[in-house]
């Protein structure tokens, strides 16, 4: 049995970004204190599970401050016998050289910055608080503090984004000491301020072109695509995220956190009060069915092997169209295929359901 990952959800934010519909709350000191205690309580309850990856996501986990983060790290080390990749998400504006050194010192060895863009007009549209300069300073400061595994997020298909503006952001990224880049397509989520402003977004063809350009540009700069949205220098794919796609166990703790242990998926309520009072997670059913496995594995560029020859035969026309590559009984999506992954997954699942 492979070791588990641990995901801690820290739902506090300095301010809500215009496109965000994740569960997050204003940073209130006393609430952050009780929340940290609740996480410690649940970490202790999970005692016995061994973990080799840790991921603090949010929200903005760094808002908890050095003292509380150290408590969480100590608890994880104690109860999960933890050693391995430890990632913390950070916003460029909320880190200081002092905090970065402390994070590195307490055991975090990977940091992921929500940069999103190096264009001021795009950052202000997203209501991010940092400037491009601040993002660069934060990444360099993390490097100075000792981090050698640094990731940054970039957002594609923003309103008015062109190949030129995106190319600019990517060139600033690749000049930095990054080992990993996540590139997400902007998705308008109902009820977010950005969606409510009804922006004009790049159309389907323009969006596809932006994505393919990103894959190509990053590839040339040494960031190999290993997942639909993720790119890494050799040896630096995010081991924690790989657990999600490879069907390995992960403990998720905190309000709105999802986990998958002993082949059961579960989620904690999206409600901090209920989390604090110890409400148990909701059972989301068994993990690992064929459809789920296909859905997760085909996100990876390594693809997935199929025993059912109908799948391979049925996907040949997609290979001719340049959407997938077939090597023996292994199928993997190309970047163009990733863009239509729902359709491809649907087709594979349908083919897989047929008798040979």
């Amino acid at each position: 049995m492979s070791k588990a990952g641990v995901y801690l959800h820290i739902p506090f934010c300095g301010r809500k970004c215009s496109y965000c519909d994740f569960y997050s709350l204003p940073a209130d000191q006393s609430q952050m204190e009780t929340y940290t205690a609740a996480l410690e309580r649940d970490i202790a309850r999970s005692h016995g599970i061994e973990a080799d990856t840790l991921y603090l996501g949010g929200g903005t986990p760094t808002l908890l401050g050095e003292r509380r983060l150290r408590r969480l790290m100590e608890a994880v080390k104690e109860h999960f016998s933890f050693a391995g990749e430890a990632t913390i998400e950070a916003n460029p504006e909320s880190v200081t050289p002092g905090l970065l050194s402390a994070l590195f010192d307490m055991g975090f060895n990977r940091i992921s910055f929500g940069v999103q863009s190096m264009r001021e007009e795009e950052l202000s549209l997203l209501r991010r608080r940092h400037t491009p300069q601040r993002a660069e300073q934060a990444i360099l400061a993390a490097y100075e503090a000792g981090f050698r595994n640094i990731s940054a997020d970039v957002m594609l298909a923003l309103p008015k984004q062109t190949k030129e503006t995106l190319g600019y952001t990517l060139s600033r990224f690749t000049a930095l000491p990054l080992t990993h880049i996540s590139a997400y397509l902007l998705q308008l989520e109902e009820g977010t301020p950005l969606a409510d402003s009804h922006p004009v977004l790049p159309d389907e063809d323009e969006t596809a072109a932006l994505y393919l350009m990103t894959v190509d540009t990053l590839q040339k700069a040494g960031f190999r695509q290993y997942e639909i949205s993720n790119f890494a220098k050799e040896g630096y794919p995010c081991r924690h995220n790989l657990k999600y796609w490879q069907g390995e166990p992960y403990v998720g703790l905190g309000a709105a956190a999802h986990g998958c242990i002993e082949n059961r998926r579960y989620a904690y309520p999206r409600d901090i009060k209920r989390y604090l009072t110890g409400a148990p997670p909701e059972d989301l059913g068994a993990a690992g069915g064929f459809e789920e496995t296909v859905m997760l594995r085909l996100r990876l560029t390594e693809g997935m092997a199929f025993q059912n020859s109908r799948v391979i035969a049925g996907m040949r026309p997609c290979e001719e169209a340049g959407l997938v590559v077939i090597e023996g009984n292994r199928l993997r999506l190309t970047p163009r295929g990733f863009l239509v992954s729902n359709l491809l997954i649907g087709r594979v699942v349908e083919l897989g359901g047929q008798k040979e």
Binding site: F22, Q187, A208, H258, P317, N342
Partner: protein, 602 residues
């Protein structure tokens, strides 16, 4: 409480659509206190969900009620509601065969409309006494005097003393009731003669079996009698009979000559009872059946297929049940290479087709695909044999055809004079031949056209309405076949002919129709993994082409923090969407696309 014949009045209410027929029926029910006020729902007789929603009457329905007249005596009224739409003339005809009179409702501001005429002529053909009533006198635009004169001038029946009423406001309803007593004749018929009762409607009740609605013309029938259906020869024992109450059946001991009522006799097989058949007694049969009334031929045919092929049997059961109380519906099995197993169904018109489709979907929970409607063509082959073609798939190859003929209709259009130009333009586009035109008064015109049925089954009614701001009304009847230049138009998706999308069309219309079908399909076929060429061809020659480009990007769902629920939901949604799609070769076609190609508004 069997009533003496001279105290029975059997009547229908006929009207152009929306002139207030069902509202008047409701008022009559209220006035006779047939329905307790608390049970009163507006438009009580329209008891199909679909009828209430569309505000139209599809099925005729009958109800018995007692009226205490001013002369101090009680009368048994049998009120038979009728549909107003031209598609449902057959239902009207069935209802009229059970009556001695008809209350003709005419809107006090709109006056006579096309179906006012159509329905009145039907009533006169059945020898019914027509009692005109001018409704909606409460409207500011009402002009009852003009409308009464119009009824006299155009229809030729006395109308100057017609009751002026408002069914909605309940004004002068009593006058209508009294006039029914005085003007509509009582039924005649020898109660001691052998039983002859006309079946004018039926429906299936899961507890009692088939319930037939009958009009006893002669003789009488009692519970326990052995009855025989004269056309089918099937025999049954009457388990229950009685009057149709407004909300429930009212069992009686006997029904005799002149009365309208229902019979239940544990009839399990739908095929044993035919609307129009005569019921008699097995041990004392009548010598001759009653003349069956005009059997109307379906005019529009289309294929109906279950979206899920496994539900073919359910579709058959549902069609059989619907046919039980809709004798104008016909169907037989057919196979399509694109759609699998289904039924070729015959309808009275496009509205009838839409209603059957909706009833199948709602009442029987079926997901359906309907192919383009076709009329029946008469084709003389080069070997002089004649074939009738109601399915484009069976259209013979051009070199085998000596002559092709298409069905024509005589159309009667009533319109305000302002729209005459628009109507002439429309009819010309639809290959119509102008016959004549008369002014009903200074502002209203009646126009007669001969039109190919093929040109009116798709969207003629909608086009007429939109070009006359809704003011024109329209009625038609079949007038035989006429030679025509016809071609079969094939639609190809990804190079393969989709049989379910083939059309028969006049040569002059082939190009524009091909172009608009190709465009409609392009609008309705979503982008897929591969590019989809859409082609329209006549005799193998491509005359229109469109392309659905390949999908470049679908929705990507984040799986942040190991939360894969969004992605799962997205895939579920995609699967649901796929269920509404039909796989035609390598192309997925949404079910709406089959219907959309029928609505080719200019």
């Amino acid at each position: 409480m069997a009533a003496a014949q001279d105290h029975i009045r059997n009547f229908s209410i006929i009207a152009h659509i929306d002139h207030g027929k069902s509202t008047l029926a409701d008022r009559i029910l209220e006035a006779t206190e047939t329905v307790a006020k608390r049970d009163m729902e507006a438009q009580l007789l329209d008891n199909m969900e679909l009828e209430r929603e569309r505000g139209i009457t599809i099925k005729a329905r009958a109800v018995a009620l007692t009226y205490h007249a001013k002369n101090g005596e009680d009368y048994l009224f049998n009120l038979i509601d009728t549909p107003g739409h031209v598609d449902f003339n057959y239902e009207v005809s069935r209802s009229l065969a059970a009556c001695e009179g008809a209350v003709l409702v005419v809107d006090a501001s709109q006056g006579i409309e096309a179906q006012t005429l159509g329905n009145t002529y039907l009533a006169i053909e059945h020898d019914l006494e027509v009692l005109p009533v001018v409704n909606k006198i409460d409207l500011p635009s009402a002009d009852p005097e003009r409308v009464c004169h119009e009824i006299e001038d155009v229809i030729g029946i006395p109308a100057l003393d017609a009751p002026r009423i408002s069914a909605k406001m309940g004004i002068n309803i009593e006058e209508v009731m009294e006039r029914i007593v005085t003007d509509i004749p009582a039924p005649t018929g020898d109660a001691s003669a052998p039983l002859r009762a006309l079946i004018f409607d039926s429906y299936y009740d899961s507890y009692r079996g088939v319930i037939v609605y009958i009009r006893v013309k002669e003789g009488s029938v009692r519970v326990g009698d052995q009855i025989r259906m004269m056309a089918t020869g099937a025999e049954f024992t009457v388990t229950e009979l009685g009057y149709m109450g407004a909300t429930e059946l009212a069992p009686q001991a006997e029904l005799s000559a002149g009365e309208v009522g229902y019979i239940a006799a544990s009839i399990k097989s739908i095929g044993d009872t035919r609307v129009g058949d005569t019921v008699t007694l097995a041990n004392a049969p009548a010598a001759e059946p009653l003349p069956g009334y005009r059997q109307v031929q379906p005019m529009v045919f289309s294929g109906i297929y279950p979206a899920d092929g496994a539900r073919y049997g359910d579709l058959r059961d549902a069609l059989e049940k619907l046919r039980l109380n809709d004798a104008s519906l016909t169907f037989e099995p057919e196979t399509s290479s694109a759609l699998g197993f289904g039924f070729r169904c015959g309808f009275l018109g496009l509205l009838h087709m839409e209603i059957i489709q909706e009833r199948l979907e709602r009442e029987y929970n079926l997901d359906l695909i309907t192919t383009a409607p076709s009329v029946v063509y008469r084709i003389t082959l080069t070997d002089h044999s004649v074939v009738m073609i109601d399915n484009p798939s069976n259209y013979p190859s051009p070199d085998l055809i000596a002559e092709a003929e298409e069905p024509m209709v005589r159309a009667n259009i009533l319109t305000p004079a302002d729209y005459v130009g628009n109507i002439m333009e429309l009819c010309q586009e639809r290959r119509g031949i102008f016959k004549d035109m008369t002014y009903l008064d200074q502002t209203r015109v009646e126009m007669h056209y001969t039109l190919p049925l093929n040109e009116i089954v798709y969207d003629f009614f909608d086009a007429l309405k939109s070009r006359t701001k809704g003011y024109a009304s329209f009625d038609y009847e079949l007038s035989g076949f006429a030679p025509s230049k016809l071609v079969k138009l094939d639609i190809m998706l990804n190079g393969e002919v989709v049989d379910a999308l083939s059309f028969i069309v006049h040569t002059d219309k082939a190009y524009p129709r091909a172009r608009s079908i190709a465009q409609k399909l392009k609008e309705h076929i979503p982008r897929q993994l591969f590019e989809v060429p859409i082609q329209a061809a006549v005799g193998g020659k491509i005359i229109a082409r469109e392309t659905v480009k390949a999908m470049r990007k679908d929705v990507l769902a984040k799986c942040y923090g190991g939360d894969i629920t969004r992605k799962k939901k997205l895939l579920e949604k995609q699967k649901e969407g796929k269920k509404r799609m039909r796989q035609l070769g390598s192309v997925e076609v949404p079910q709406e696309a089959f219907m959309a190609v029928l609505k080719l508004d200019e």
